[in-house]
Amino acid sequence: MNRHELTNRARIAMLCTMQGNRTGKRRSGRLGKPALAVLVGGAVALSGCVSVNAPDKPIVIELNINIKQEVVYRLAKDAETTINENPGIF
C-alpha cells in the first residue's frame, strides 16, 4: 500500500503544472489561470536573459582569516610595547 502511494506521488511531482491544474484536485491547481500565466511568462522572460558563466579564476575561500585576526588582536598590545622599546630598529 505504502509503496503504491509513493509511486503515485512521484508521478504527480513529474507532471507539468498545467496538467496538474487540469485534474483540479492537486494543491497546485489552486493557482488561478492569470497567476499561472504570470509565472510561466516570467519564467520564459527570465530564461532568455539569465546566463551562468563559470568563473575563469579559481574560487579561493580564506578560512584562516578569522583565526589570524584573533591572533593579531591578542598580539597587538605586546607588539606595540616591543616597537616602543626598540626605536632604533623601528
Binding site: I65, K68, A76, A79, E80, I83, I89
Partner: protein
C-alpha cells in the same frame, strides 16, 4: 707620528664609552641614515613587519635596511616565542602598528602590496589589523 694622550681626548673617550654603555644598541634612537632613508621614501614599511624598497635602493641603503630587518626578525622571533605565536603573525601584527605610525611623506605598503605615500589621512591597512 705619535698621538699625545691629552686629558681632553681621554675625557671625550670616557664620555663616549659611558654613553655607549648606558644605552643598549636596540634602544637607541634611529640612525640618521635610516631616518633619512625613511623620510626620502627609499625604504618603506611593508605589511609583513619588515622594511622594503619602493624603488631600487643604493647599496648602502640596502645594507642598512637588511641589517635592521635581521634585527627585527630576531626580536620578533623572541617575542613571538614568549607569546606562543608564530614569527609571521607577530611580525604581521607589528607591521600593522608600524604602518599606522608612519608619518606623512613616508612610504608604506598597502593591503594590495602597492607602495603608498603616507598622507595626513589614516593609512590603508589590512582588514585584519586591529
Amino acid at each position: 707620528m705619535m698621538f699625545k694622550f691629552s686629558p681632553i681626548t681621554a675625557a671625550g673617550a670616557a664620555a663616549l664609552a659611558v654613553l655607549a654603555l648606558s644605552v643598549p644598541a636596540s634602544a637607541q634612537q634611529r640612525d640618521p641614515a635610516y631616518a633619512a632613508a625613511r623620510a626620502s621614501g627609499q625604504v618603506g614599511e611593508k605589511t609583513d613587519g619588515y622594511l622594503g624598497f619602493p624603488g631600487t635602493p643604493s647599496a648602502d641603503v640596502r645594507r642598512m635596511a637588511d641589517d635592521i630587518n635581521i634585527k627585527r626578525r630576531a626580536l620578533y622571533a623572541q617575542k613571538a616565542a614568549e607569546q606562543h605565536a608564530t614569527v609571521e603573525d607577530y611580525a604581521f601584527t607589528s607591521g600593522c602598528r608600524l604602518i599606522a605610525q608612519t608619518v606623512p611623506g613616508e612610504k608604506y605598503q598597502g593591503p594590495d602590496g602597492s607602495w603608498q605615500i603616507r598622507t595626513a589621512a589614516a593609512p590603508l591597512r589590512d582588514s585584519r589589523c586591529p
